[in-house]
């Protein structure tokens, strides 16, 4: 058996915390340890974001105060284990130890599909690796394989993230049942087939996304399924909560030495509050996921309480400052995660993607990710073209400063913000792509090219 890259002893202390920490009721957790505590920290650290002119702030002191507030939240509140109703608590020294063990460089993928992820800072130059895919959007079984093939032929994607199967062999996917494992295997097999046929067998795959409980994930991380060079997911629930399901996933990943990606989606307008509060929750969440779930990389799909997307103007600034706080003060590998309101063929979606990628990449994210199109809630509403566009913007933003990005992001926000609530979901994959050639329709290709022209004119060097 291989030596583990994560200290088993440290993971056992995490499980101890989940089973022996102070008992707290769920309401008390949400109201006292999240809502009241975050509100207090926003005031204590004088956190006030320019939500009227969001863009990309360049205030390093603001970012550092945000980081300090998040550390305080980590120590004062910790994580809530939903299966034991206990608070998992870390001391400040333990939290520092967690930060100290984060590496400044990672590799993923295998063979010719290997890529390096380097630490970045705000205003850093250099290429940002990009993970393209439908990111969990529900995909009909009929064209799941075709959709995978269409994504993995995009050369700008360093890794691929799958969608979620709606059915498996025509049957519904029941969580925690053998259908869960069967569906996850079906998803992974169709994904491996796609990368093999694309001539990219070493390409890292982030899956399974059909997994509704731990058993699907645990089963496919095995012989003939997911490889140790692929990306496995475990996550927090809002706010700063962890169920046993994710600790189970984590125990398997640690034992198999898997590459692990963690994510946490604070809710804007929920217990974490507004832009400043969700930024504190985001930063604390990343640190606490590193402490609890031992991820290699992390993202946040921060979510608007009613509208689900993360391109809402106040969220653009919230995430930008959060990414700056993390990249300036830690080696935690941060990824962005694009979830626009609009969907394929809609020009607004392109503006949302561009604004989000520009603001987060110039704020120091290490990895670009996307796109969970049309809020991720509409079956089949995603396509490789918007993810290619996101990768192009991310790469272009890799050479820009926050100050350069700021006015462009503001303009982009003005171009889409008034129509976000319309949820222009656009077209599904089989309506905007030719399923035989796996190429976009002429209409969708024209929208993409027009969007590129607009971006170049605005000063984003896509060319």
């Amino acid at each position: 058996m291989n030596e583990r890259k994560v200290s088993l002893e440290e993971f056992l202390t995490v499980l101890d915390k989940a089973e022996n920490g102070p008992v707290v009721g769920l309401k008390e957790w949400d109201n006292v340890y999240i809502y009241a505590k975050i509100k207090e920290l926003v005031e204590q650290y004088d956190l006030s974001f320019p939500v009227d002119e969001p863009g990309v702030p360049s205030d390093d002191d603001l970012a550092d105060r945000l980081f300090a507030a998040a550390i305080q939240l980590c120590v004062d509140s910790g994580v809530y284990c939903t299966d034991t109703n206990r608070r998992m608590i870390w001391t400040e020294e333990e939290i520092q130890g967690v930060l100290d063990r984060a590496p400044a460089m990672l590799t993923a993928g295998a063979g010719e599909g290997t890529f390096v992820i380097n630490k970045r800072l705000p205003d850093s130059t250099g290429k940002v690796p990009f993970g393209g895919g439908p990111w969990g959007v529900v995909i009909p079984e009929e064209y799941f394989l075709q959709l995978n093939k269409a994504y993995v032929k995009e050369s700008l994607f360093d890794f691929f993230t799958t969608g979620a199967l709606k059915t498996v062999r025509g049957r519904p996917v029941r969580a925690g049942s053998p259908w869960d494992t069967t569906a996850c295997w079906h998803e992974v097999r169709m994904t491996m087939q796609a990368i093999e046929e694309a001539g990219r067998p070493g390409m890292a795959v982030c899956a399974p996304n059909t997994s509704a409980s731990a058993i699907g994930t645990v089963s496919v991380q095995s012989y003939g399924g997911m490889r140790l060079t692929d990306w496995q997911n475990a996550s927090f629930m809002s706010e700063l909560k962890v169920p046993y399901e994710d600790l189970i996933r984590t125990s398997h990943f640690i034992e198999t030495n898997s590459f692990v990606h963690n994510f946490y989606n604070p809710i804007y307008g929920g217990f974490a509050g507004g832009a400043e509060g969700t930024a504190i929750a985001t930063v604390a969440g990343f640190i606490l996921m590193k402490a609890t779930l031992f991820g290699d990389s992390f993202n946040t799909g921060i979510s608007h309480a009613h509208l689900s997307f993360n391109t809402f103007p106040a969220l653009i600034v919230s995430q930008a400052v959060a990414m700056q706080a993390l990249s300036r003060n830690s080696n935690i590998c941060i990824a962005n995660f694009t979830r626009p309101a609009a969907g394929p063929t809609e020009m607004d979606m392109m503006y949302e993607i561009a604004a989000y990628q520009l603001s987060t990449v110039t704020s120091g994210v290490w990895v670009g990710q996307g796109v969970q199109t049309a809020t991720g809630r509409f079956e089949g509403h995603c396509s490789p073209l918007e993810a290619r566009f996101a990768a192009e913007v991310a790469h272009a933003a890799g050479g820009m400063s926050r100050a350069e990005a700021h006015p462009i992001v503001n303009k982009l926000i003005e171009m889409y913000k008034d129509e976000q609530t319309l949820l222009k979901k656009g077209k599904a994959f089989n309506e905007c792509y030719d399923l035989e050639t796996l190429e976009p329709t002429a209409e969708w290709q024209a929208v993409y090219e027009k969007a590129r022209e607009v971006m170049i004119k605005m000063g984003i060097p896509l060319e």
Binding site: N2, R171, V218, G224, T250, S258
Partner: protein, 462 residues
């Protein structure tokens, strides 16, 4: 339909089959059906013949078991539905079941083949402290006590009492850690013994599906090991076990499915047990499509399968299956006696002789000391006697074996109710040297000589 591809159809039927209350399934379906079949096929326990030689009776038992499988099907506890099959479907499943499988890897691999009663071909010997709870520090020495016995081809592992000092909670991260720790220790023991490729039974610590899934993965148990997925008594499966079966199918891991009917329960006495064994293994082949199929009927009070009636029933069930199918049939001996007792050695010898001449492909041993329920009560010699008897009786007729079994049974039968659990591992073995104590080795040698005198050629070379 391919043997293992059938799992999708199994899952489909588990969600669409006829709905029934679980209690009704056992009370109003299994019990009367088994009773009717016993009468219809005139199946009667004759205590004067423990190892049956009546082929017609064996074939009638097969027909009764097949009818049981058709009429009752398998119950899915999670959906309260019966997974039912037609006669044609069950027969097709039997017709194309695996009749040969390679277990283990490299030079440690062994071939398990379908056999028939009175067969002279080699039987695979599985040995180990099958599920017996042991402390972590004792896991490797206990495993080595089995691994060092050359007669043992395949290992079945003990169960850890704790993992890293913590209790193992089902369906929690602890279950995953326990499964992985078990795999780590089992692989380490095999490596120490110089048998790295030996096939390892797994995952013992799998209270839910999680242990079984997590244990068979990168760095853990391998596809050449032997994943176990049982059903519950009587004829009940659930989503946990079906998830393990699915995992086995997708990872290409060798699968053992097993079913342990309860003597005196819904299937009744010996006659019901033998019908249930046949029906159960036919349904296992259909619903848990794997490679080897095991049974270990259980006496509810003695926790063993070595009473005369249960040996008769188990051996007859094996005959019925091996005469009429190519299933790789396997039994597990569960003696009442434990390490350091003559009782256990006699029980094991009688049970293994009876089931091996009846045609089993694989002999698994053993659930020492009250059916494996007593912590630390297991040792390598417990399985060694089983392996030696297995090889000795190859080619012997059932009638010849019956004469020997009838000599052995009186030597232990009166002790079964005394719960002769014997001694824990550390009292019958020198843990540092992994050698039996002189007392335990001496007792073993005496019983071995005694069995040779009875006509069991334990000293045969070929």
């Amino acid at each position: 339909m391919g043997h293992r591809a059938r799992i999708i159809e199994v899952l489909h039927r588990a969600e669409t089959g006829p709905i029934m209350d679980e209690a009704d399934f056992e009370r109003t379906l299994i019990a009367p059906t088994v009773n009717n079949l016993i009468e219809k096929y005139k199946i009667n326990f004759d205590e004067s013949v423990i190892v049956n030689s009546d082929d017609d009776l064996a074939d009638r038992v097969f027909q009764a078991g097949l009818e049981l499988a058709i009429e009752v099907g398998m119950f899915c506890q999670d959906t309260s539905r019966r997974i039912v099959w037609t006669r044609e479907e069950l027969l097709e499943g039997l017709r194309y079941c695996p009749s040969e499988i390679v277990m283990g890897a490299g030079v440690d691999a062994v071939v398990c083949k379908a056999r028939v009663p009175d067969d002279d071909t080699r039987v695979v010997v599985a040995g180990g402290a099958y599920g017996v709870p042991v402390p972590e520090h004792m896991y490797i020495p206990m495993s080595l006590s089995y691994l060092k016995e050359g007669v043992i081809d395949v290992i079945d592992n003990p169960s850890l009492e704790t993992v890293y000092g913590h209790p193992v909670k089902a369906a929690s991260p602890w279950e995953v850690l326990a499964a992985r720790r078990e795999a780590e220790l089992a692989l380490q023991a095999a490596e120490i013994a110089g048998r790295p490729g030996i096939c390892l039974g797994c995952v013992e610590l799998s209270a839910t599906a999680l242990g079984g899934l997590a244990g068979v993965s990168w760095g853990g148990y391998r596809p050449t090991d032997w994943l176990h997925a049982p059903i519950m008594s009587e004829l009940k499966t659930n989503y946990e076990m079906l998830s393990i079966v699915t995992h086995s199918v997708r990872t290409g891991t060798i699968l053992e499915a097993y079913y342990n009917p309860i003597y005196g329960g819904y299937v009744g006495g010996g006659e019901g047990i033998t019908v249930a064994v046949v029906g159960g293994l036919i349904l296992l082949n259909q619903c848990h499509p794997g490679h080897t199929y095991n049974t270990r009927p259980n006496h509810p009070f003695l926790n063993c399968d070595t009473t005369p009636e249960m040996i008769w029933a188990t051996a007859l069930g094996v005959q019925a299956l091996t005469r009429n199918t190519n299933l790789l049939v396997d039994t597990l001996v569960g003696p009442a006696g434990g390490p350091g007792t003559r009782t256990m050695l006699y029980e094991n010898a009688a049970f293994v002789a009876a089931t091996t001449v009846s045609g089993q492909s694989l002999m698994t041993s053993c659930h020492s000391a009250s059916g494996g329920s007593i912590p630390r009560h297991a040792s390598g010699l417990d399985s060694k006697i089983c392996g030696e008897v297995t090889h000795a009786v190859r080619g012997m007729t059932r009638a010849e074996a019956n004469e020997i079994v009838e000599q052995i049974i009186p030597l232990y039968v009166d002790d079964l109710e005394k719960k002769p659990i014997g001694k824990p591992f550390e009292e019958v073995y020198d843990i540092d040297k992994v050698e039996p104590t002189p007392e335990w080795q001496g007792m073993y040698d005496e019983v071995r000589d005694e069995l040779i005198k009875m006509g069991l050629p334990l000293d045969r070379l070929v």
